[in-house]
């Protein structure tokens, strides 16, 4: 008997790959891309619990310490069931998705620039993003480049804002601004979406041509718009090779190309592993992994008032929600609805679910991926465990 995985984001893809590695035939069902394709490309595992508002870098803790602290503070966190699998799950993930290079759990968190002009701590990121790790930029000259005629990226604001925040964190680097020509003969350049620009950089020789346009720049690092390739993994390296200067891109929150790049890399890994795919939506028989996401993915839905799990109608918990109040008073949270999901036993079997059903990723309840900063990390680790367990009974 094979394993059915429902959901093709990070949790579902990793579950499918783990089930394949466990020897099962896998049928992966998905309706389309979800939250993974909208992600920044960074993989959070556990945020720094000592973080203080107003101090961007209180301490520089590592994932291992953060992880223990996160579970201590949130005893209902689903990652408590799978803590032994963290290192191996992330290692397997990096094997399958070569955009990411493995890092030890006790390495200090990465501090990476974002397209909103801020720095974000995270555990793992794509190679093109890791190159802008803040502590490595001390005393360096960074030039933030935009494309002439395209306002989808704000180099001037990014340079000023990143410099300002870095200095508050005690790191001095020289952040300058530049402009480079790309697709300048396109009359509709101003209206282009990030993924359209990224696609042009996938074309053979394109990255090298852009690199040549940047060859004369005096810098230790070039920070380019986060459009460095959609389906090609080495665009940043090829630009850097031609320019003779290291190249990086910020984490993206606005029509994120790195998110799409991650999703496409997962799709390729699934294909390479021989995972069968379909868009069937009925309840599967036999061993299965539920990896349908939260609201963006469509795993948790609401009818009249009550939240419920979409496919099996499983009960959903909303921790910390008094009455039916799903949101907090301030936009900055915390918001109970973000922790809504299905509770499970220690083997990730959802309460009230049919035999052989495991759950992974954002459909799991009991944690707030945004405030606890553990979203994609939790998806990968729970996906790995759920896929492995499903294969064992297949």
């Amino acid at each position: 008997m094979g394993v059915t995985v429902i959901g093709g984001g990070a949790a579902g893809a990793v579950a499918a790959l783990a089930a394949r590695a466990g020897g099962a035939a896998v049928d992966l069902r998905s309706r389309g891309w979800g939250a993974t394709a909208l992600s920044s490309g960074a993989i959070d595992l556990a945020g720094d619990p000592a973080e203080v508002a107003g101090d961007p870098w209180a301490g520089r803790p590592c994932a291992a310490r953060n992880f223990a602290e996160m579970l201590r503070r949130n005893p209902r966190h689903p990652l408590r069931h799978v803590r032994e699998a963290v290192a191996s799950a992330l290692g397997r993930f990096c094997d399958h998705v070569p955009l990411y290079r493995p890092r030890p759990l006790d390495a200090p968190d990465l501090i990476l620039p974002t397209d909103l002009g801020t720095w974000k701590s995270t555990f793992l990121a794509q190679g093109s993003q890791t190159a802008a790790h803040l502590p490595a930029l001390a005393g360096k000259r960074v030039v933030v480049f935009g494309f002439r005629g395209w306002a989808g990226f704000a180099p001037k604001f990014l340079a000023a804002s990143l410099w300002n925040l870095a200095r508050r964190g005690g790191i001095d680097c020289d952040l300058a601004v530049g402009e480079v020509g790309w697709l300048e003969d396109d009359p509709f350049l101003a209206l282009r979406e990030p993924h359209e620009l990224a696609r042009t950089l996938d074309e053979p020789g394109a990255a090298e041509r852009l690199g040549e346009n940047l060859a004369a720049v005096d810098a230790d690092l070039l920070l380019l718009p986060p459009v460095l390739g959609l389906s090609t993994v080495d665009v940043a390296d090829r630009i850097a090779g031609a320019a003779g200067v290291p190249v990086a891109e910020p984490l993206a929150s606005d029509r994120s190309v790195p998110g799409i790049r991650l999703q496409m890399a997962l799709d390729r890994a699934l294909f390479a592993a021989g995972v069968k795919r379909s868009n069937a939506t009925q309840r599967p028989p036999g061993p299965a992994v539920l990896a349908t996401g939260r609201f963006i993915g469509g795993g948790i839905v609401r009818g009249e008032r009550e939240l419920r799990e979409a496919l099996f109608d499983l009960p959903v918990v909303v921790p910390g929600a008094p009455g039916s109040q799903l949101s907090g008073p301030d936009v900055g949270g915390p918001h109970p609805y973000l922790s809504a999901g299905v509770p499970t036993d220690e083997r990730l079997r959802p309460d009230g679910g049919p035999p052989g059903l495991f759950a992974a990723g954002a459909v799991l309840g009991g944690y707030d991926a945004i405030r606890e900063r553990c979203g994609l990390g939790a998806a990968i680790v729970t996906g790995h465990v759920a896929g492995t367990l499903a294969a064992e009974i297949a």
Binding site: G54, A151, F157, L191, A252, Y337
Partner: protein, 547 residues
Amino acid sequence: MSETGNRPYDAVVIGGGINGCGVARDLTLRGLRVALVERRDLGAGTSGHSSGMIHGGPRYLLREREVTRASCVDAGRIRAIAPHLCFRIPFLVPILRGTSRVMAEALEAYMEAYDHFAPLKDGRPHTRLSADEARRIEPGLGPEVAGAVTFDEWGIDGFRLCLMNARDARLHGADVFTYSPAVALLRDGAAVVGAVVRTREGERRLEAPVVVNVAGPWAPEVAQLAGVTVRLRRGKGVHLVYGRRLGNFGIMTRAVDGRWIFVEPQQNGALLGTTDDDTYAGADELRVSRDEVEYLIEGIAHVLPSIRDHRFLRTIVGVRPTLYEYGRSPDALSRDHAILDHEEDGAPGLLTMVGGKLAYYRAMCEELADAVCRKVGSQAACTTHVRSLPGAGAADAGLIAERFLVPEPAAARLVFRHGSDARQMLESAQESDRGVLCSCEPVLRAEARYALDAEGATSIDDLRRRTRLGEGTCQGTWCIGRASALLHEVGAASVEQAHRCAIESLRERWRGRTAALDQPGTATLATEELMQSRYFLVGDYGRLPWA
């Protein structure tokens, strides 16, 4: 530190809603020197939270025929001076099954009476529709509907109407101070001879023989600066905002308690409103309850059941500064206005205007300007009914789209909002500013930059009022971050201010959205999750030193 304004004025106008902007323009066009002061942004109070209708007020036909007539006359004039800002809203009033023949005839007679006024505002006469005819043009009507009558009204963007009045005043010499609350009135003995305003640069003394208090719901507070009591029945008015048009017509019907409510196409979306309840809360601390939301939806669902299939994006809430009267329901209160000369209260030189409707602001402002002129001895006549507001010339959206290579929907809304100024705006725009800043509307970067450069916008919230940035389906998820970078890029904000503006704007959007988050369905939760991920997960706004 207090700085004396470098010139005395003929009048200081306190309040930058439609009455303040309108009277400032009227007085300025008559040659008077005017200072207009507003505690926040122009149109940020009642005017910006209205139904956005220049209507003739058929509702007042029986009780206050004069209000209806004055509304219609002025609606026609507003339509003539700002044709680009007005859009026709055909309304449909369903007749329900079980309505007696007498009642149906009465409704028709009522509409016939309204027809007499319709030509005054370029309105079309009413029509009577059978149930089949009504369903053919509005298929969503429910089984209760046995027929309908139609009439039409004009919709308008209330923010831009304020802005264009203020801009025309400034073009003709008025000084406009936004984000400048009046903190004291200057006195010479008993006489009120000006105001002290706290601008962002410090306090300023603005001297004038007449001070005009048109602060709307805040009028009592301003009058109190002179020790004068002004009483209002403040009515809380709630609207639900939908992200798209729900039909071809506005629909007007009775709520469960018999009050008239409506759903109308407005801009790219639809508005459902309104409630009218006495409020004693501060005008800045109003919240919308689930009861108010359900009251409105239930009323419309009675004739348009499909309303429940649509999700509303947010709620807006405003305060009607209605004339005080004890012992009547809010709905039964007069919509007329009153000009109070506080000479009788021992504060000569201070005038207050309260009450009234957006729909005939121009006529009210004319009356108020007449009163000011009598005080300062001016004989100048009003010209606001014949002089057009900025942008009133012709423009062709198709040609603009072709010439500047911008999407046609973007060009069309530029023409609606800026009229003949749209072309000039794009002509002077940089190449990259043809890009889209807010994709829901869509708002081009050029329009936002113009609002920052030429329309006095200083924050993302100001940009929203001027351009509707962040008013669409995503409620700022994409555009607020982009706008903060633009603020910095044009030199309107430091890095700190740009981030702070973004956070304030997220908070402002959130306040109107909490009620929307409680409605059935998942889409609002998903949008919210995306917004939280962008700003609080990736952007890590919660940790910014300025959060």
